[in-house]
């Protein structure tokens, strides 16, 4: 068994996509993932595809959490994941997406489309984010329980 206290903390990237400027979702997810024991790189709102891909390639995160609530998540997500997966270093990094992905409420056909395009998990609006992300983290093959520490305030500089 790995001693959790000696394991280096893993990094998770939290990000929105090119068109979405909402940030409360990102601040919330950062705190949540820090409570799950990760170091979080929060890329913020309106992240262009190229920037998202290059920052992920540099950070080599344990996984990437994409959040979109403005109703363009489906379109932005399908475009992004193609570019993301075609980068040689990012073909297998787990990526999840969640939020309010379309303009007309939940749509399971759309969720399926996102999964087939390369997202590992699509979280619909009614899933509890804390339970969902904890379960996802635990399901990862190399899942070593990351070191737990009290959460810090997001982005306080």
């Amino acid at each position: 068994m790995t001693d959790v206290r000696t394991t280096a903390r893993q990094t998770v990237v939290v990000t929105s996509m090119a068109s979405d400027s909402h940030t409360w979702n990102l601040v919330f997810l950062q705190l949540l993932l820090e409570e799950l024991g990760y170091d979080v790189v929060n890329l913020g709102p309106c992240v262009p595809d190229d920037l998202l891909v290059s920052r992920c390639a540099a950070a080599r995160p344990a996984f990437v959490v994409v959040s979109s609530v403005n109703g363009h998540g489906h379109q932005d997500g399908l475009r992004l994941i193609g570019t993301f997966r075609s980068h040689p270093d990012l073909a297998t990094i787990p990526v999840v997406i969640g939020g309010k992905l379309g303009v007309a409420g939940q749509d399971s056909a759309r969720a399926w489309e996102l999964r087939s395009a390369g997202f590992d998990e699509v979280f619909e609006e009614d899933t509890d984010p804390a339970t969902a992300l904890a379960a996802f983290a635990a399901s990862l093959p190399r899942a070593v329980a990351p070191d737990r520490r009290p959460a810090t305030l997001p982005a306080a500089r």
């Binding site: 309106c46 109703g71 982005a155």
Partner: protein, 419 residues
Amino acid sequence: MSDPQQTAGFGAYVRAEAEAGRLVVQPRMGFGDPATMRAGLAATRAAAARTVGTITVDAHTRVGHLAAVESALRDGVALNGYPLVTHPVATTAEVLAGIHGPDFPVQVRHGSADPLGIFRAMLAVGLGATEGGPVSYCLPYGRTPLVESVDNWARGCELLTRLRDQGLEPHLETFGGCMLGQLCPPGQLVAISVLEALFFAQHGIRSISVSYAQQTHPGQDREALAALRRLCRELLPVSDWHIVVYAYMGLYPQTHDGAYRLLGQAAELAVDGGAQRLIVKTAAESQRIPSIEVNVRALEYAAWAARRPQLPPAGATADPEVYEEASALVGAVLDLDPDVGRALLLAFRKGYLDIPYCLHPDNRGRTRSYIDADGRLRWESTGGLPLTALPRPRRRRFGSADLLADLSYVRRKFDGSER
């Protein structure tokens, strides 16, 4: 009403209604499909209320990502607003034909830190009313550096003034009274709204509205409107200005009842607080883009709520706390530079203005807020803000559940499930 240029504008329409004792109500509405957009404007006009129309621009256009608009239109993907820059001028002219005019002005709402393309598209179809500002359409709306936004907005204002050649008086509304929608104490909201109005005036805009978004406490909100009015009277160098209230801009109640009660409270705030216009939220707010029908119901409900007998205005007894805070912030910022745009840049650099929880790199991020036992929004840490009031000591731990609890305060209260 002798000047024809004045009667053709958005500001003149709202002021004339106010003189007749009527609150103007307005939707947040935008659809990608031109026929739906036209139907929405027509339904807004026909609603049983004094209304003005709204064209909300989609999020790809806001960030200048026009290729994404084109692919959405091609693939039949629904957008979250009207792609004003992409649809041909003739299409937008058809959307507006016979609907938009002096008796039903239409405003473009967009959220762009680089609005020149949107303004050019407005000019091409004779639309003269819009909203935003160098700060409020930058920090909450993406990653454009503040210095670029200030420059874009200065040029944008000047571009809008060309509408006068078409006999239209351009109208600009500050979005500064909203800043991230929630958890920004009212003193700073009022200050940014006033500073953006001064910025508009400095760049040639003569018809202005100043916004304030309903927050967590009705009494504090009334004080905020009183502060906003007083500061505008003291400082605004234009005579054509009015106050616009936004129904709550944070996590909205999920129950039908809760959503309507919160909207009703916003209408009361607008009337008691002496505002001339109200932008509504609908029962669909917590879930999805509202349909035309849901929007019309919200407009009619708000107009009804605004006509109900009101409480006597809080008047002279109002606590001057919000005024003092807003006035201190405005004064300190204006002292930094005679050019309001440069003063705003310096203010954010020094932390004289600092938005709680804002992720934008040009925001210092040293302030925090909290909701006190009475429901008032207060400073927990003031960072570099030029305020003397003592903030409450910092909470030692603040996790995701605490953030969600603060964000959901209003939702909980109106959905009736306290705590």
